[in-house]
């Protein structure tokens, strides 16, 4: 099923109508709500002979007939004067709002003062290093290095694994890979690719023959249909960045831009604590055209989203230089057409 077929299938889903009498409850609630507000009806309140106030409709006196049928009207009692509520009821909500704002402000200021200046090395919870010390030897990065076994797993950390089947190396065929997420949200991608052995250090296995992945501290176990293979895991503090690009063409092409997503990414040596902003882990970049690129690390898996002109492609990003807070590279589509150049990737969102 391709994107167009999926769009059509989703749009064609039918939803049954409401049950009989569904709207009665809602209409009653609306009626009660509206009748409770005499001002909203536009009527004027008038004093009756019996001391009970009435409401004059459209300038007509109480009990005066008008063009409306009696069936169209209902008679209700309306509160016209209420006792003055005590001060804590009148100002309680405002006081609560002011108190909550103060708490939020104090919390924000506290966070500003306590934000760490250092970055935890992935897989080594609690160990902090200066960002300047990271990634001294991994430049430049290119597609040849993408997808290598770069997961760092601390002996005390049992990471979770999410298998990914996508075109990791841009050769047009799906590769099998797994995104390994450490307990500290460190990330890595391990690939098994049958098409280009030089990309994958693990094995030459077509993705569709793979059975399951399992990760143990320091080991990766790939169970295929006919064998179980176990691999040692390299220890790399800062690893490869970009693996795969797929396009999410927008619905009906009505929105003239597209997304590129990297279905897995190496460990950038960053932890969510460093770059968390408004609950999201954001890495930002700008293409040559000035459009925003962001790597969304929400839920621990970095995704690269590129907003730009409408298009559909697969390809790869080559990262030419990388340091803890900036990467420079270019994007090349799988069909050899250069879609756009990534001039700068700024690691760290507005809150970093």
């Amino acid at each position: 099923m391709n994107n167009e077929e999926l769009d059509a299938a989703l749009r064609s889903l039918s939803t049954p109508p409401p049950r009989l009498g569904f709207w009665n409850v809602v209409d009653d609630a609306i009626a009660e709500s509206e009748l409770g507000d005499p001002i909203a009806s536009g009527d004027d309140v008038v004093e009756g002979d019996d001391g009970v106030e009435g409401v004059e409709e459209d300038g007509a006196a109480e009990n005066e007939t008008d063009d409306q049928s009696p069936d169209d009207n209902v008679v209700v009692l309306l509160p016209t004067e209420t006792e003055r509520p005590p001060w804590h009821q009148r100002f309680g909500s405002q006081l609560t709002a002011v108190a909550a704002s103060l708490v939020i402000l104090i919390g924000f200021l506290w966070l500003l003062n306590t934000r760490p200046d250092t970055i935890d090395v992935a897989g080594q919870p609690g160990s902090a290093v200066d960002p300047e010390d990271l990634n001294p030897d991994l430049q430049p990065l290119d597609i040849e290095t993408v997808g290598r076994s770069v997961v760092e797993i601390h002996p005390d950390v049992t990471p979770s694994v999410e298998p990914v089947f996508a075109d990791i190396n841009g050769d047009g065929a799906d590769d099998a890979a797994m995104v390994v997420t450490g307990a500290d949200a460190s990330l890595a991608v391990v690939t098994v690719d049958g098409e280009s052995g030089d990309v994958s250090p693990l094995a030459s296995l077509p993705g569709d023959e793979l059975g399951t992945f399992a990760v143990r501290p320091g080991r990766i176990i790939v169970t295929t249909t006919d064998a179980e293979m176990e691999f040692a895991v390299e220890l790399v503090p800062v690893a490869d960045v970009v693996t795969n690009l797929t396009v999410d063409r927008r619905r009906d092409n009505q929105i003239s831009d597209w997304n590129i997503q990297i279905a897995g990414a190496g460990n950038l040596g960053l932890t969510p604590e460093v770059c968390e902003f408004a609950g999201e882990v954001m890495f930002e970049a700008r293409t040559a055209a000035g459009t925003l690129v962001s790597i969304d690390g929400n839920s621990g898996q970095p995704y690269l989203l590129v907003d730009g002109p409408e298009g559909s492609f697969e390809g790869a990003i080559t990262i030419e230089t990388l340091d803890p807070f900036k990467a420079v590279g270019s994007f090349t589509a799988a069909d050899d057409s250069v879609v756009g150049a990534v001039t700068q990737i700024t690691i760290g969102g507005p809150g970093c």
Partner: protein, 176 residues
Amino acid sequence: MRYGVAMVPRPDRSPLGELLREHDPMMRALAYRLVGPGNVDDVLQDAYLRAVRSYATFRGDSAFRTWLYRIVHNTCVDRIRHDQRQPSIAMAEEQTINDFTADHHRFGSDPASDLEVEQALSELGEDQRVAVILVGVVGLSYDEAAEVLDVPRGTVATRVHRGRTELKRALRAEVA
């Protein structure tokens, strides 16, 4: 407390009632797939009652339908959280699939393909499912969906992409 007597028109179809009826099909499309056919009417009634109660405070900062979507979504989430605390959740999920089947037979849609899509949708994680429904089924833009869910636009895009990927994989498996 003093009371007055008012003669006012019977509000058979108030403007708010008309608005709710106008947007009901899309709200229903969302709620139907979040809480299941058996709960959709109850949840929507709850949501609309909430909307009626808070309509006076609606300031028009967002579009009415976005505001209403948010209420419906929050009500659905409340129901899901409530149901997850019940011990019979597994039975309820099984019942939901059966309800989908019955509904699709009853309303004449293509039961085979629609049911496969409904089932694949129901197996998505909640975040991805909501995002896919809002964008793919209901037809909201990413910006509108982000406003409804109160998350950044990029997060919606990510959830939609992952959800669609999962859907395609699941539906491919169904075909195979």
